[in-house]
């Protein structure tokens, strides 16, 4: 007897979005989460007594408006006001910071007037071009085999948008599309701090340096996201990222989704080329006509389904997905809020970026190619407890930092390398916020190896697969299977490993659910 129409494996935000969307369309859905708590890498977790922090993802900048709308997340407590947008602050060791205010630098302060107008122009250009890619980076990728009328029409719209750029604009769009970010920045900007910030943002979360070909795509990916209706805007959720997941969960609950936690799925049951259910590691078997895997694609096929049930060519492709993380996450419990040089009180509530120049980012990247961490890492720092006192005990402060580059396969191994890398990070922080070291009550550093283990993300890669040109769009997670369906009937993918990729967007989950509904699966 089938109790559920659909089983969603993985209660990360994408799994919950998929489940809630399916439930709203009338499906009876069960979500199975391996951990004790929902949210995956988008949780709020206590890391020291009284100190709570967003686990991996800490800045919300791309929660898709369709997800907000479909799941009525505002009703469930997720309200994003323009006033809550946080600035991006390019820190400087010995001078004033340069600040991008509003939605990704509507106003730039701390730079010369010439740089301000150059930025205004570049920003408009970046947003214009990102706008063309935006529909591609939101919807299901086009089916090259046989395009539906709707798909053809939306491709036509893109062609129209391209045409609207004019001949010169179109040429320039195509010229820069696969460029490296450093060269583009050198063409148009002069201020190293601004260029450093943009170089950092373009390469954040990928195994690329600013001078690696195609690194500009990362910036487009960021700017194709929006918050509160504004492209590139960013927000620190009250209550941490767990609050976003809580809102999605509330939507799922309301739609009638059943959720079970601490239930690791051991395998996906396959009968004659069709996924028919899951087996839990307790031996319990649950059956449903639709199985949605919102976890890593490689884990899904190589571990849960197993290579025996899939074709060799497909297995090859899955095995070849590059997913070795290069980012570490640092959580500090501080006695008191740190003082970053050159930043004012409002800046401290923003996203503080240590990436003094594109060269610096590039030099930080170089060792990671050879299995070594950056001796002078680059990072983005947030101090979430400044705006949300509930995250830290009175007077104390939480520091959350995303730090690059930390190669998954560290040559010396992370057991030996972790303390050394932590020291390098602390030295870098000390240089920008003198005295911070003495206020550290507790430090938690999550290397890609830790992230892999704790959040079940192979390679510790938060995108569940490098987000580069060859692993995007119709090639994500693998070529030929980018549309959320899989070679197994009844099995769908809905996680960040699918198009468009990672970040707290909900787009893979939403698209997968829509695909399932469209297929009457």
């Amino acid at each position: 007897m089938t109790l559920f129409d659909g089983i969603v494996i993985g209660g990360g935000h994408n799994g919950l979005v998929a489940a809630a969307t399916l439930a709203k369309a009338g499906r009876k859905v069960l979500v199975l989460e391996a951990a004790a708590e929902l949210g995956g890498a988008a949780r709020t977790q206590e890391f020291a007594p009284g100190f709570r922090v967003s686990s991996i993802a800490h800045v919300l900048n791309r929660l898709h408006p369709d997800v907000m709308k479909t799941l009525e997340l505002e009703k469930h407590g997720l309200r994003i006001a323009r006033a809550d947008f946080i600035p991006s602050v390019a820190l400087s060791k010995d001078g004033p910071a340069l600040v991008l205010h509003g939605a990704y630098g509507e106003v730039l302060t701390g730079a010369s007037s010439a740089e301000q107008s150059a930025w205004k122009e570049l920003r408009a250009q970046l947003l214009r071009y990102a706008g063309i890619l935006k529909p591609f980076l939101a919807r299901r990728p086009p089916d090259l085999g046989g395009m539906s009328l709707l798909e053809t029409a939306s491709l036509g719209q893109t062609a129209l948008a391209l045409k609207k750029l004019g001949k010169e604009g179109m040429r320039d769009f195509l010229r820069v599309l696969l460029m490296n970010v450093a060269d583009l920045l050198d063409e148009q900007l002069a201020d190293d701090r601004l260029k450093g910030l943009l170089a950092f943002d373009a390469t954040l979360g990928s195994h690329l340096g600013p001078r690696s070909p195609t690194s500009l795509l990362g910036l487009y990916y960021r700017l194709a996201g929006e918050t509160g209706g504004a492209a590139g805007a960013q927000w620190l959720p009250q209550g941490g990222m767990g609050a976003v997941v809580a809102a999605i969960r509330a939507a799922a609950d309301k739609a009638g989704v059943t959720i079970r936690t601490s239930v690791p799925v051991a395998s996906i049951l396959v009968e004659k080329g069709r996924a028919v259910g899951v087996a839990l590691d307790t031996g319990e078997e649950l059956r449903a006509s639709t199985i949605v895997s919102a976890i890593n694609p490689a884990t899904t096929f190589l571990d849960l389904v197993g290579p025996r049930e899939i074709d060799t060519g497909f297995t090859r492709k899955v095995k070849n997905i590059r997913m070795k993380g290069d980012v570490a996450k640092l959580h500090l419990a501080l006695d008191r809020p740190p003082r970053f040089t050159g930043a004012d009180a409002a800046d401290h509530k923003g996203r503080l970026v240590i990436a003094p120049s594109p060269d610096h980012v590039e030099r930080a990247f170089n060792p990671s190619k050879y299995g070594e961490f950056s001796p002078e890492p680059v990072m983005e720092v947030t101090l979430p407890s400044l705006a949300d006192a509930s995250l830290a005990p009175g007077g104390a402060c939480v520091l959350s930092a995303v730090v690059q580059y930390a190669p998954y396969q560290l040559k010396e191994g992370w057991d030996a390398g972790k303390p050394k890398f932590l020291a390098a990070i602390m030295a870098q922080l000390e240089a920008y916020a003198p005295g911070i070291g003495k206020t550290v009550r507790h430090a938690e550093l999550l290397t890609p190896a830790d992230i892999e283990k704790r959040y079940r993300m192979p390679g510790g890669h938060w995108h569940h697969g490098e987000l580069q040109a060859d692993q995007m769009l119709i090639s994500r997670p693998v070529s030929g299977w980018s549309g959320y369906d899989t070679p197994l009937d009844g099995l769908f993918l809905a996680g960040a490993g699918s198009h468009p990729g990672g970040g707290v967007s909900g787009a893979p989950g939403l698209n997968a659910a829509r695909r399932i509904i469209a297929m009457k699966g």
């Binding site: 190589l302 290579p307 049930e309 074709d311 060799t312 060519g313 497909f314 297995t315 070679p487």
Partner: protein, 419 residues
């Protein structure tokens, strides 16, 4: 130029390493490898008519291709099949692995049995066909036309199985023809009479073992023998000595090719293009399109290409069909174009001959469906017969007929007939 010749003296150690590496790669100095039987073949090769079989020097003919063919049908013919690609597949999961890779149900292949099978890529296109020998519950030999080691190794993920190429290590002989059983018996292979068609067993030879199977590529009574390469020559001599009174002859491929056509058997990359060789998208073939649909077992567990094959069947996307043709007259229609109503091109003949056994003009052809499938009337072939530097164009009626074109009782009769 002077600069180019002025070489920096290399350190001694790298020099030695380089020399060792070059020595290990000297295969390129021999453009066509000899098989373990080469000394015997060379001694018999009166025509010196060689071709390249998977990198080996193999004979088209040795003395007279016409008489070599008749050796198959009326005596015993010895054909060197050592160049055939051979894989040793072993392990507790060997059966499950092969069941997943190949089309047929391997769980129904008992130890001591052989079956003809094929395997496909993800899209359901045939990568190759070949024979699978089950040597023990956990040990198999897969023989094929093309090389597949990377494919087999990648397919082995998740199975407790080892896959090793043993093409060089194992020598093979096909002994085919009405006297072949008698030759083996007289050579002292006691118990060989027990072998039914597609059976195999191990026999003692020269302090080692030889695997003899009642299989072949001729549609005749016949056997295939596999032995370690260093026992190849003694096996050859043993067979030749015992076979002499019964007319044993070494033969080349041309003769074998005729026999296989009469038997209606297809050859990869002659009658169809294997998926990894095809460059043009419309040359790929599914099993159903080359007459191998009978191998497909949708009831067994997952096998490579299952999804695509099933989809093509359900959505009626099978575009081609491979058929046997009987053509009026006696001029072989080799590589002739097949027409519907003498005007519309619908396919191509891939192999053709006047069959001395069937006394018919036979051919194997690939046609675009529905021709050859549901539409079998009014088919013609256009034969270009060269007559003293002028083509005589013949439009001949072709009839779709069942394969094999000949059926010899002696192939399957038990016990095998003495001669």
């Amino acid at each position: 130029m002077a600069q180019a010749t002025k070489k920096k003296p290399l350190a001694a150690a790298p020099d030695l390493i380089a020399a060792a590496r070059i020595a290990a790669q000297s295969h390129f100095r021999t453009l066509r490898l000899g098989t373990p039987f080469q000394p015997r073949l060379d001694a018999l090769a009166k025509t010196q008519d060689w071709y390249n079989w998977a990198g080996y020097r193999a004979p088209h003919s040795l003395w007279d291709e016409e008489l070599e063919y008749f050796a198959i049908r009326s005596q015993a013919a010895l054909f060197d099949i050592s160049p055939m690609t051979k894989y040793r597949i072993e392990g507790p999961d060997a059966e499950a692995f092969l069941d997943r890779v190949t089309l047929r149900d391997v769980t129904r292949l008992r130890p001591g049995r052989v079956h003809y099978t094929a395997w496909c890529d993800d899209e359901g296109f045939v990568l190759d066909d070949g024979t699978l020998f089950r040597l023990s519950p956990t040990r198999f030999r897969l023989c094929s036309q093309e090389r597949h080691l990377p494919w087999l190794l990648d397919s082995a993920l998740g199975f407790e199985v080892t896959v090793e190429e043993e093409t060089e290590a194992v020598a093979g002989l096909a002994l085919q023809g009405p006297t072949s059983f008698a030759v083996l018996r007289d050579a002292g292979f006691a118990g060989v009479d027990k072998l039914k068609v597609f059976d195999l067993a191990e026999f003692e030879h020269d302090g080692a073992t030889v695997t003899i199977s009642r299989t072949g590529f001729t549609g005749d009574l016949g056997y295939e023998l596999f032995v370690a390469a260093d026992k190849a020559l003694s096996l050859w001599d043993r067979l030749m000595t015992s076979g002499e009174p019964r007319g044993i002859r070494a033969i080349g491929y041309t003769a074998l090719n005729r026999a296989r056509l009469e038997a209606g058997l297809i050859v990869a990359n002659a009658d169809f293009t294997t998926a990894e060789h095809a460059i043009r998208a419309d040359r790929l073939r599914m099993p159903d399109e080359i007459g191998l649909g009978f191998m497909i077992d949708l009831e067994k567990g997952h096998f490579n290409g299952r999804r695509a094959i099933l989809e093509a069947r359900t959505k009626r996307r099978l575009l081609h069909v491979l058929v046997g043709l009987e053509i009026e007259g006696n001029i072989p229609a080799e590589h002739a174009i097949v027409y519907y109503r003498k005007s519309q091109e619908v396919g191509l003949v891939s192999a053709a001959m006047w069959s001395p056994m069937a006394k018919r003009n036979i051919a194997i052809a690939s046609l675009a469906r529905p021709y050859g499938d549901t539409l079998v009337e009014d088919l013609w072939v256009e034969i270009y017969a060269m007559r003293e530097l002028q083509y005589q164009k013949l439009m001949k009626r072709a009839k779709v007929v069942a394969r094999p074109f000949i059926k010899l009782d002696r192939r399957t009769s038990n016990p095998p007939a003495d001669f």
